[in-house]
Amino acid sequence: MHPYETLKVVQQGNVVTAFLDRPDSRNSINMRMVNDLSHLVDAIDDAKDVSVLVLRGSTDVFTCGIDLHEFAAHEKRNIYGLQKWEHVCRELERLNKFTVAAVQGECTGGGFQLALSCDMRIAERRSVFRFDEVKLGFLPGMATFRLAKYIGFGRAKSIILTGRKVRAEEALSWGILDRVCDQVSFDETLTETVSDLLPFHPVALEMARRLLDESYATSYENFLGHFLAAQYRAINSEAFDRLVVGAAGQGKRSEVGRIGTARRRARGK
């Protein structure tokens, strides 16, 4: 992997792990990191030998949020840096690989948004999630758009308007997190989470994600049209080819044969 100034990137098999790495500023997100993430996501997008991208921080902090040093102190500030940041979150959200956020310790503002942009989120029990932006006088980016979809309007309002801390257990019970574990079992839990996601079928992943993304925003009729276009693509993908060929070639009892058995049963044979 390309060396990055603000990220430490390691690849093990088909899993790439990117550690947010600005130890002097609690991994705060500056423009350099935004650009590094942008390049990383782009490279992973192209990589044929990668199935999962894991985002991690240090052992006690994922990130404390956007680095305020990036804003000019005594002149009019433009929006373009934040626009680029939102763009990177979107690219991450739509990456053609699985994405996992693995959080230890503080996860504030932009870090919380990075986690929401991933497919899965796991955290160590002592982790704390927080959007402090409104308390500080600005906005938590497009997290305002994403968070309510995860947990509903009322809870999102409470988290974003009060800036209150959400502990890992609470985040788990609300469905923001998929798993919570102790420090000692963190790596093991992460490995399990990653293996739960595999095998990796890029077409099915991308299509399912896009459809889910539309689920609160589109009418049934429009969604149906999109679904049919997506499903046509999925049932003509390599993965489905293998499944169907496998089902045709194997006996009733095999894993893939079940579909055929269910169909025969449905037909009353």
């Binding site: 009729e221 999109h226 276009a229 003509n236």
Partner: protein, 366 residues
Amino acid sequence: MIDVRNIVSPRKAAYRRPTTGPRIVSVGTATPPRKYTQDEVLDLFQEKDPKVRRLFQSSHIDTRYLYLPDAIDGRMAEETNQGLLDRHLDGALEIGPRAIEECLQPLGLAPYDIDFLCCVSTTGFVVPSLTAHLIKKMIFRENVQRIDVLGMGCNAAVNGLQVVTAFARANPGKLALLLCVEICSAAYVYNGSMVTAVVNSLFGDGAAAVVVRQDGADAWQQGPIVADYEPHIIPEALMAMRYTLEDTKLSFFLARDIPHEIGANVEKPLNRLLGRHGLKRKDIDHWLVHSGGAKVIDAVQYNVGLTEHQMRHTLAVLRNFGNLSSGSILFSFKELCREGVIGEGDLGIAIAMGPGTTIETALLTW
């Protein structure tokens, strides 16, 4: 602080944008005077079949401009083939010249200045061809070079562009004009079948013209260079979109599987086109996709991975005009130019699909 506006992907930065080449320097469009909602068309034809009514109403089309005859005693008269051919020629010679005038006027040009005229139409057949009729009507020069593109359907704007850009590239400084004029209401057949109902619910009339020239004095503000083309034809689907003869009238047939066929193949030309320039889809700023119909738009959108925002012109043109056949992507192009969002160095992709079955793509650079 880093000025992020200058941060582009390394790929896009590495792409060597052509500085000269055939440029689309103006666009004009025109439609028939009368606009119909889908309900108005159904009422005009006293359509009672609930399946047909549902088809019209779920077409994602609000209005279309059409040359429909007036109802007599509340009924549409049976039309002759001659009547339909006349409607095509009369319509083409009404909205064609209006689109050309709208296109030439901002450049301070007259038809007399044009060196090459290409006219695209699939919805009627006439000898002498439309270019000859237009030359007489609009007073083009007697030595204007010309070509008529017939029978290529919805993708033909890109094929027409291939011709005019080749002329412009070979003749720097000279002016080429492309006109796509489709009177789809002259290819309507009413026989109560779902096949014709699909066609009658979808297509609209319209004309679009562009001027193309290669001139070293032009810059990105004048319009995009058409940098490259990549076609893709699917011979197995040869008969999926075709004219059939219905008594004496040409009737358009659209196979049910077309949207899926297009969806399954659209990435092929796109990947080849972008690949040979070292680009990826995310480097593309503007998308001009043919407004073929709701299903084929969904198929392209999902297979290419485009957002509603990236499809906004495609969807708006479908909603306001229906499927304009060849002129469609030029209507989208005009909408894009009007928005004022184009910047120097922007890249665009045009995708148009039609009979063959074919998918035509083009790369535009500003």
